[in-house]
Each structure stands twice: as C-alpha cells, then as structure tokens.
Symmetry: C2
Subunit: 159 residues, 2 copies
C-alpha cells in the first residue's frame, strides 16, 4: 500500500506544530504532548508514543518533569520527510534485496553486480525515497500553518 501510517501522520502533525511554535515566538521552549493533542483530533496516548520514537531518532529533544515537552532538534528545513518516515515506520527495504523476482539459485544477493538489475522496483522506491528526502518539514509546515487556527477538541478517545 502506498500510504503513510497513522503514526507517521500524527508525527508529522506534531512536528509541524513544533515548527510553528518555534517560528512564532517561543523558540526553544518545550511543547507538551497535551498541548499538541488539544489542537488536533489525535489520540493523545498514541501521539506520546510517536513523539518518543521521534526522540529516539533524535529528531526532537525531550524534557521531563513540569514544563517539559518536546522541541525540534534542528531547523524545519533541516528535517526531511524521509527521516520521519524512517523513524516511525522503518526505512523501506531499498538497500537489501526485495521479495519478488528473487531467484533461489543466487545465494543471498550480497554485492553482486546483478543485484541492482534483478529488481527494477528498487529504482522506483528509491525515486519515492528521494522525493521524501527532498521534502522538508518546512515545506510541509508553511502551507498548513494557515489552517491551524483554532484549537479543537478530540472527537474520539479524549483520554
């Protein structure tokens, strides 16, 4: 399926929110999960889980305790969509061998020169990957900041 996971979408929403917060005044301040979840129809608990993963991937910095939260570790134009996807879904299987058209005769497709030929689908995925590497958080944020006007409550699962 060519579709981002909910987790990734939630993560992007959070990152865009952090980018906005950094640009509009309070730079360096930590934004809590609660605040982010109050603005979008997103399950708070899952958002927290996603932000933890983003922290592990060192895309955001976390602070515990009161007044804690998350903040971007780099500038919005220094964070790519590819990094976010890799952090939350794992980098798609581009590097090693694919599933299909794999002949059982070849051992394990180490570094043989035939390997890139055998799976032309790799190039397609690399194209997609390159597209995401060229898409920065900044380019995502600047267009969506217009709609993040009013806070809205969570319609479902307001845990």
């Amino acid at each position: 399926m060519i579709q981002l996971t909910k987790r990734t979408e939630y993560g992007l929403i959070a990152l865009v929110h952090l980018a906005d917060a950094a640009l509009t005044g309070r730079d360096g301040a930590f934004v809590s999960v609660r605040e982010i979840a109050e603005h979008y129809p997103v399950p708070k608990r899952l958002l927290a889980e996603v932000l933890k993963d983003l922290a592990r991937a060192e895309l955001v910095e976390s602070a515990r305790g009161k007044d804690g939260g998350y903040t971007l570790r780099r500038q919005p134009d220094q964070i790519t969509l590819a990094e976010v996807v890799a952090a939350l879904e794992g980098r798609p299987s581009i590097s090693s061998c694919e599933t299909a058209e794999r002949s059982p005769s070849s051992s394990n497709c180490g570094l043989e020169p035939v390997c890139p030929i055998r799976s032309p689908l790799h190039r397609v995925r690399e194209g997609i990957w390159g597209l995401m590497e060229r898409t920065t958080l900044r380019s995502l944020a600047q267009t969506s900041s217009l709609v993040q006007a009013g806070p809205l409550l969570q319609p479902k699962a307001l845990t």
Copy 2:
C-alpha cells in the same frame, strides 16, 4: 507503509513476463498462468487472482479454454506502474480529503479552495503518483529481462 503489495509485485512480474513474451517472438499469443508461475517463486493460485483483476482493469486480455491465457492489451511503453497499482490496490486517496489534519468544522471538504492547503501531504503523494505514472512497464521489463533466464520451480506452495 510505503511499500507495494505482494499482489502488485506478482502482477508486475506477470506483466513483465507477458511483455517479454510479446517482444521475443510469439506476439499476440496467450500465456497461461501455469507458464508464468513456473518461472517465478509465486503462488500460482494468487497469481491467477491477480491476473483476473488486471483483466478487469483491461490491462491484459484473457482467453479461456485450452491454449488460453493472457496477453498484453497495449504496448509495454503504454502501460504505467500507476495503472497497475490502481488496478490491484486501488488508487491511493489523493483526490479526496486525507485522514489527518481534517478539522471537524469544515463540512466535507468538497471543492473549497482551502482544501489543497490543508493537506500538504497530498502533494507528496501526488509526487509519488506522478513518479509511477512516468514509470512504464517497458522500463521495468528491459532491465529485468536479463535475469529471467532459466525456469525455476516454486519453492513454496507448489499447488
């Protein structure tokens, strides 16, 4: 998840095989599912299901009865990866509204001018889609035809 389905991979394998068959001599002849399945480690039954879908999408033409099978309906450079994906997984949700960042205040996001702004992820997916529209079956086939040398039996599920 940014990954093609097994069904799509199987479909592409079949289409590449059909393209090869059309180019190397026997043009117009119908290739059976059995023959295709004998060349790749692919569950025959599922391959048949996939080819049926491709026939419904009018990408291939089918012939029943003895000496029946499938054949390409167009030239390999006239069939795009996007068409195959659309036929086998359904066109990804680019046209209408996405899941995330959808404010409950807006009714159903019909044709309002704010809609393309609200989901910057749409542009990413359109980019991916465009990439697949520009990838023809021919470009996939010409690189992989080198490896389709010897027929190989199915390692698993040789039904």
